[in-house]
Amino acid sequence: MVPIAYYLVLAAILFCIGVAAFLMKRNIITIFMSIELMLNAVNLTFVAFAHQWHQISGQIFVFFVMVVAAAEAAVGLAIIIALFRVRQTLNVDQVNLLKN
């Protein structure tokens, strides 16, 4: 049986990659993907602990996270397409009309 620490370390690595990508990338689709990555890292943690402690609630929670992520992806991608049609760019630093 794989010890739980392995899962947790993998989840932490995935999460850190997600954070780093979120902070560093300018392409909004990449940022979107990094958010998904972070969510899935957390999902992995949930599942690992659920398995460890034989608790079903952790598994259930993962389904909720996935539902929310799917909904978010549907809305977010629609916004990105609309944005691209208007601005012809995916660079978040150029989407700053409301700033200041």
Binding site: V19, L23, K99, N100
Partner: protein, 684 residues
């Protein structure tokens, strides 16, 4: 009369002030005048009732009432308390009576003026504060009235506030009075320190016991004298009163002749117990009074503005009152205060009537021969002139004579000297008043009275003798339309003149001395105030009479007054040009005339010696260093440091989502590090 009703006396004019001050702008002129007259007539009636009550009482009566404890600080207490004794009663009679007459006169005089409602609300405000001043039964409430009349005086001097000179005169009066008030305040602090009370009765009851111990009594008395000198325009603080003539003439009559300026005399008389136990301070009062009387009279001799002559005359007469108080003859001082209120109010109002008749002309050199044109004004003013000059049997004779007699019998070289000064002043008074009389009412009418404003330049005619600071008249005073010959004033103005003339004639008969077959009732009346008798003792003691000395002195002063009349007649009636020739006769007389004409350069000396250095210190030190440097500087440092912190903190709020996320991640990482490796108080 119920003592509680005393409150009504000052409150009524205050109600008038509030009504006119808030609604007056929308009311018609008749309404404004009606309110003002009603709310001054009612206190006058109350005072009459009070008079009857106190007159009919068997023993000297003192009414007192206290509304509430104003200030209570561990044993020290000041009440809003009024009390009335015979001294207060005389003052109340003068203030409400003369005040009411002047209100009537003002209705006519101000009829064509802007700011009618403003004028009457200020006048009522003045009445309120003046009544508080005379009614109060402690120093602090007296001070409230004292400051309040100063405020009303400031507002009314600067009534024509669009005129620079009027605004400046108001400021001057206010600021000079501050110096006096400073003395008054210090005196009150000393009183609190030594007596723990400001109540008249408490303080005065304690004084006799402290008699031997007290240099501080002299200090308190001298500080009070400083206050009184400010309010009553005595040397060295008299300079504001001549300038105060910038106000409307009825104001000059009410505030700067009859009532407010006598507040200092009243205060000294009120504190007579204190002054009796501080003989040094009393001597100072006498000397100040005598000097001021003479000094102001000499200046009054050469003034050309009719109101300024009267202003200097007022200062001079106030000097007489100080002189009387200074030799301990308080009732003589109050007697003169009363008669002076009558004849000086009359003189001012009559002068106002003359000015009104000439369409705003105040310069006596452009007057003359008005006797026939304005007969009522002429006759009433004559009564005032003869009264102030001390011609028997008019009021001024009796009061002035009483003062001179009291000064003479005060004894010692100082007494004789002061008497001599008083006598000379009496002669000068007679001279300058008859000079005014002759120049205004006799001789040929001046050509400017028929034409309009084409006035020949008199300055050139008089050469260097006439200084150039003379204000050009024809300003906002009285009616602005051109006049076609002088005309008598309306009945609203002549009626008070007639009443006051009657008072100026008979007002002195309450103080006819015994040697002249009188009763000297005023002294009897005031006796319980100034010489309180222990209970059970005879109420009216015998008064010493001067006998032959008093008759002789009276004769001398009448002769002096007659001499004044004679010289005035010689110089201004028989040979009108002679005074100029006399002045130009030799360099010494010209120098003397110049000295008088420039009022001894006192204003200039004060300007150079006090005002300019003070302003310099204020500008450089207070404004430059303290205000700009310390006050504004510290505020600047505070503001700038707050701004700097804001600038720093603003960096964090970049508006960039990823930077927020970065901070968030950093924070989370820190939390994790602390939880894992750090010291955690809850876990250990």
């Amino acid at each position: 009369m119920n003592p509680q009703l005393l409150w009504l006396i000052p409150i009524l004019p205050f109600a008038g002030f509030l009504l006119n001050g808030t609604l007056g702008r929308k009311l018609p002129r008749g309404g404004v005048a009606g309110i003002a007259l009603l709310f001054t007539a009612l206190p006058a009636l109350l005072v009459a009732w009070l008079w009857i009550t106190m007159k009919s009482a068997d023993a000297p009566l003192t009414l007192a009432t206290s509304a509430y404890h104003w200030i209570t600080v561990s044993g020290f207490r000041v009440d809003f308390a009024f009390s009335v004794d015979h001294l207060t009663l005389v003052m109340l009679g003068v203030v409400t009576g003369v005040g009411f007459l002047i209100h009537i006169y003002s209705v006519g005089y101000m009829a064509h003026e802007e700011g009618y409602w403003r004028y009457f609300s200020y006048l009522n405000l003045f009445m309120f504060f003046m009544l508080v001043l005379v009614l109060s039964s402690n120093f602090l409430l007296l001070f409230v009235g004292w400051e309040g009349v100063g405020l009303a005086s400031y507002l009314l001097i600067g009534f024509y506030f669009t005129k620079d000179s009027a605004a400046n005169a108001g400021k001057k009066a206010f600021i000079v009075n501050r110096i006096g008030d400073f003395g008054f305040l210090l005196a009150m602090f000393l009183l609190i320190a030594h007596f723990g009370s400001l109540d008249f009765n408490t303080v005065f009851a304690h004084i006799p016991a402290l008699y031997m111990s007290g240099g501080f009594l002299t200090a308190i008395a001298l500080l009070l004298v400083l206050g009184a000198a400010g309010k009553s325009a005595q040397i060295p603080l008299y300079v504001w009163l001549p300038d105060a003539m910038e106000g409307p003439t009825p104001v000059s009559a009410l505030i700067h002749a009859a009532t407010m300026v006598t507040a200092g005399v009243y205060m000294i008389a009120r504190c007579h117990v204190l002054f009796d136990h501080a003989p040094a301070a009393l001597t100072v009062v006498a000397v100040i009074g005598a000097l001021t009387a003479l000094f102001a009279a000499t200046i009054g001799m050469v003034q050309h503005d009719i109101k300024r002559v009267l202003a200097y005359s007022t200062i001079s007469q106030l000097g007489y009152m100080f002189l009387a108080c200074g030799v301990g003859a308080y009732s003589a001082g109050i007697f003169h205060l009363m008669t002076h209120a009558f004849f000086k109010a009359l003189l001012f109002l009559a002068a106002g009537s003359v000015i009104h008749a000439l369409g705003g002309e105040q310069d006596m050199r452009r007057m003359g021969g008005l006797r026939k044109q304005i007969p009522i004004t002429f006759w009433t003013m004559s009564a005032g002139v003869f009264a102030i000059a001390g011609i028997p049997p008019l009021s001024g004779f009796f009061s002035k004579d009483e003062i001179l007699f009291q000064v003479f019998s005060h004894g010692g070289a100082l007494g004789i000297l002061l008497w001599l000064v008083g006598l000379i002043t009496a002669g000068l008074t007679s001279f300058y008043m008859f000079r005014l009389w002759f120049k205004t009412f006799f001789g040929k009418p001046h050509e400017s009275q028929h034409g309009h404003s084409e006035v020949p330049d008199l300055h050139a005619a008089h050469g260097a003798a006439v200084h150039a600071r003379k204000e050009t008249t024809l300003v906002m005073e009285a009616e602005p339309e051109p006049h076609h010959g002088a005309h008598e004033s309306p009945p609203m103005m002549t009626f008070p003149l007639v009443i006051l003339a009657a008072l100026a004639i008979i007002g002195g008969w309450v103080g006819v001395p015994f040697v002249l077959g009188g009763e000297n009732e005023i002294e009897h009346f005031l006796h319980p105030v100034f010489h309180p008798m222990p209970a059970g003792q005879a109420f009216y003691p015998e008064f010493a009479t001067g006998g032959t000395t008093e008759v002789l002195l009276a004769l001398v002063s009448v002769l002096t007054a007659a001499a004044g009349f004679y010289f005035a007649w010689l110089l201004y009636y028989r040979e009108p040009g002679k005074s100029t020739k006399l002045v130009e006769a030799n360099p010494y007389t010209r120098m003397a005339y110049n000295l008088l004409d420039h009022k001894y350069w006192v204003d200039e000396i004060y300007q150079r010696g006090i005002v300019v250095p003070l302003l310099g210190v204020s500008r450089v030190f207070l404004n430059g260093l303290v205000d700009t440097g310390i006050v504004q500087g510290s505020a600047w440092v505070l503001a700038e440091s707050a701004g700097g912190v804001g600038w720093l903190v603003r960096r964090v709020q970049s508006g960039n989502i990823r930077s927020y996320a970065g901070w968030l991640a950093l924070g989370a990482a820190c939390v994790i590090v602390i939880v894992l490796f750090g010291y955690h108080p809850l876990l250990h």
